[in-house]
Subunit: 570 residues, 2 copies
């Protein structure tokens, strides 16, 4: 008799090769699948036998493109949330923590992930800082890349944000990172970010070695990517009826997968990659294909040869579902051990990081005076560049507004459509401040401050009133980081983010509730957006068009340089 | 304008993702494909433009399971033959040269391959020697494995010959090699040899980490392998109508590929992997699927991410065909350079190896007396174990024959069905000799000698007459190795194999002609087999059933031990 640790009988097992369910049993030994079938069961002696009750048994889900920091929780807390949702493996790209702490940040994530129940692999952040037009707390260079590749959990070069620069400037930081990756590894996996690229521009990205894309897709763009050998990672915003129709009608299985990219803490309570699978099925994708796109397909993309299917020798990572089309995960097994029975408590709260990670907002308290905007001597009025925040996108537009100046100060409140925005450099104590004006879908009252501000994570404060702005800023500073919403001298909501100013160590549910409250508060103050916090935190992101604000000033993203707040008068 | 080195216009380009040909053009830069399409051609400036004349452009073929030594030529000569047949990449498993020279042999192949025009990757020989029941010239152990993995051209652990031992004996050499591979590499590729295994036995092989098979397939066995996550490598003997029908009717693309395994020097003149593609098409496989199974599919198996399709960023390895169904290769491009226009001359003859490689048959000349078989004192007659050689297989059977003894010597010539076989240890000068008798499909006259004798490559001599046997043996010894066929005191044919006694440095055509002549001579002397040389050289192979002969004596393969020539009399 052959010994097994576990035998699960009476299940419909998903076969990844034939994309089909077969009535079968699964035997597990030492965390791996020993046997799938029924004929040899009389030759197997199991320490424990489970009746699967006729449920569906599918591979643990694999998410190969996500950022843990987007959920504002730590790797251990994130791991628990993954497993609760049936995700047993992920590939994380930790560029947010890298922007705050550089290699120390990445290494802290690697160390913490070692003990996580979910397998957390990593991509090397390729674009830290994202531009030279911002001040980050840390950088990731080619020497760091070399060091990170010594860890077998590091699988790829993560998300090349700026493919245009890669293609055009062989001396650029990103081109050097790609070249270093190609020197270090034979035929490396290099993840891309290729919004809207087509034709020769797309070919040139592939020629440079970048061969995946996770940006928003159209059917035509997706077809062109796949035909050119690119792997497409479908995140929720690409999960449209037309994309699902395209995937169903064309033989593209194995050329795409589902990924979550960024899931806010409040949304994480509602699901993770499992939500995308469910949504794909609801939009008409056969469950077999949707499961494949969240298991075997991403595993192959990352050359994770030991998982992605339920077959002998593979890790015993699998889920039991009582309803296939609803994709209702009832039990989760990781390495053959039951880790979840639909429990809703998150235990991974703690104090995980080195002490200095809790003291990363290096700024004195702010006063109203810190929010005064000085105009050129003698000016009566100035033409100002204004960031127009758009609902439904993180792209902004540039507007020009004429404003009066009084006693050398800009009287921006004279225009009822405007907010003031300031970015205080908070990593190195440089005292550098970037100032700008916002309009459009942002605040019509009060103020908000956040130390979670893409990608540099300086302290970004926006508001209608200097007193509220100072209060919001100081709440964040006093808490060592966070997101704060204020109105009329009162703190409406606070999300403390004590770790590097971007993460909380509270239980995921608690963080989720606070994020939801802050979201609601921002909305109530006028920030109309499907994700107001994301919108707030990307006003400072100098890689997505058009006009953004960093500690170095206003950034003309397309032009790739800093522009002054005031237009030169002719 | 974007610069390109080469632009090929007016071709039907195979798209691996959609398995479809599209009228297109291909631009090449720096040995890689820059662009595939037509729309952007006005933005590309090429140093050279070629009119493809409407031909088919397909990826260079990739053969991931073969043994160069089976063709008895050197890596440079082999590379030329590969390219002539449209094979631009292969993964070779050099266990023959390893059996003669150990690591030095493998390293010599790696060094010689560096300068070859075809890309020759390697698997680590996992089973050198193949058993403990033979004396090889070298061994490959776990330290060698570690050293070989430092070379990026080493992709996998090659052909685990003896899966039964792997599964049953965790302390065995093969189990240690597999364990070492798994320690050294995350999720390594381990190639298997799993003849006829099914059910739990097959699952246990997969559980050990071996996940491919290249032995003869049945449709049922192939289905079971693929369903269990095994990759199937189809060699010519599996290229049957029923296997092709299975592949056409089932969604198994990507789970199998074509491989050549062993191609004798004479057969190599007729083609290589291209022959299998042609044959598959002739048996009814759509050309697109056959091409996929010889390019994209094997590339994915070996994680060769930079080749296997014609797409931007991939190596510019491709073929032009004027006839798709005949798979007639007219031009071969390797890294964007035309390497072949159907030329039939092989230039890679030379003197490539260290001097000692030419002096590897360490044996004094033989005399008739070396072929006397002594019987136990006083015996009048003995029962002997006899190797029955079968036509059409390398498996043998055991027969028992009663033979008279005269003056202490076995009178085996008294039975007109018998040959004598001897294996002289030739690596270490031990003087060890194994003796046995053969019957069935072997010689009815004369003698043959070979230093190419699987896997240990000692000097195997078989014959009807001691004088002929000594002559054949001495021809091989004097030439530093080879295959020699003799009759009535005359040398009929000689294939000199001066390198390690297993390879020739003569041009491939010449070696092929000599191999063909030796084959014909063996046949004329009665060795009826589709491949008499293969049959001859595997009488000494102690891993395929049932009774074999090494320098240590007769091997009961199933029992796994040496058995005496004479049965003990009761």
């Amino acid at each position: 008799m052959l010994q097994a640790d576990l035998l699960i009988k009476n299940v419909k097992v998903f076969n990844s090769a034939f994309k089909h369910f077969y009535d079968s049993a699964v035997a597990v030994r030492a965390g791996r699948i020993l046997y799938v079938g029924t004929q040899a069961l009389n030759q197997i002696e199991a320490k424990a036998t489970v009746d699967g009750g006729g449920q569906y048994l599918v591979p643990g889900l694999i998410d190969i493109h996500l950022h843990i920091e987007s959920s504002m929780i730590t790797p251990p807390a994130f791991s628990e949330m993954l497993l609760r949702n049936g995700v047993t493996t992920c590939v994380a790209e930790p560029h947010e923590i890298a922007n705050v702490f550089g290699m120390d940040g990445v290494l802290s994530f690697l160390a913490l992930s070692q003990k996580c129940a979910a397998d957390i692999f990593y991509g090397i952040p390729s674009s830290v800082p994202s531009t030279a037009l911002e001040t980050s707390g840390g950088t990731i260079g080619t020497e760091d890349l070399h060091r990170l590749l010594q860890d077998p959990r590091v699988l790829c070069l993560g998300e090349v944000m700026d493919c245009r620069t890669l293609v055009q400037y062989p001396d650029s930081h990103i081109a050097q990172m790609v070249a270093a990756m190609q020197r270090e590894r034979n035929m490396p996996i290099i993840e891309g970010h290729c919004p809207r690229f087509r034709g020769l521009a797309l070919a040139r990205i592939l020629f440079c070695g970048v061969d995946s894309d996770h940006t928003e897709q159209t059917p035509q763009g997706m077809r062109e990517r796949i035909a050119n050998g690119m792997f497409v990672e479908i995140q929720e915003k690409s999960l449209t009826q037309e994309i699902i129709d395209f995937c169903v009608k064309n033989p593209v299985g194995g050329h795409f997968c589902f990924v979550t990219d960024d899931v806010m803490a409040d949304q994480l309570q509602k699901g993770h990659l499992n939500r995308l699978v469910r949504k794909a099925i609801a939009l008409g994708m056969p469950p077999e294909d949707a499961i494949y796109a969240a298991s075997a397909s991403p595993a192959a993309r990352m050359n994770l040869r030991d998982r992605g299917s339920v077959a002998p020798g593979k890790l015993a990572d699998f889920l039991l579902l009582d309803d296939l089309r609803q994709f209702r995960v009832k039990q989760v097994y990781k390495r053959g051990v039951l880790v979840k029975e639909n429990k809703k408590e998150n235990k991974a709260a703690g104090h995980f990081f080195p002490e200095r990670f809790y003291h990363s907002v290096h700024l004195p308290l702010r006063t109203e005076k810190d929010f005064l905007v000085f105009t050129p001597p003698g000016s009566q009025a100035v033409h100002c560049r204004v960031i127009a925040v758009q609902p439904g996108t993180t792209f902004t537009e540039e507007q020009i507004v004429r404003l009066p100046a009084t006693q050398g100060r800009l009287n921006w409140k004279s225009n009822s459509q405007l907010c003031l925005g300031t970015v205080f450099e908070r990593h190195h104590g440089s005292g550098r401040v970037g100032m700008g004006l916002l309009t459009g879908s942002c605040l019509h009252a009060g103020a908000a401050a956040t130390s979670y501000a893409h990608d540099h994570h300086n302290l970004f404060v926006v508001g209608r009133d200097e007193r509220d702005m100072a209060l919001a800023a100081n709440m964040v500073i006093k808490n060592g980081g966070g997101i704060c919403v204020v109105r009329d001298g009162k703190v409406l909501e606070l999300v403390p983010l004590a770790v590097g100013g971007i993460l909380s160590e509270e239980p995921a549910e608690q963080v989720g509730r606070k994020v939801a409250c802050a979201t609601a508060a921002l909305r109530a103050l006028g920030w109309q957006h499907e994700n107001p916090i994301m919108s707030l935190c990307t006003v400072s992101l100098p890689v997505s068009p058009a006009l953004k604000l960093t500690d170095r000033g206003l950034v003309d993203v397309q032009g790739g340089h800093i522009v002054p707040l005031f237009l030169e008068e002719e």
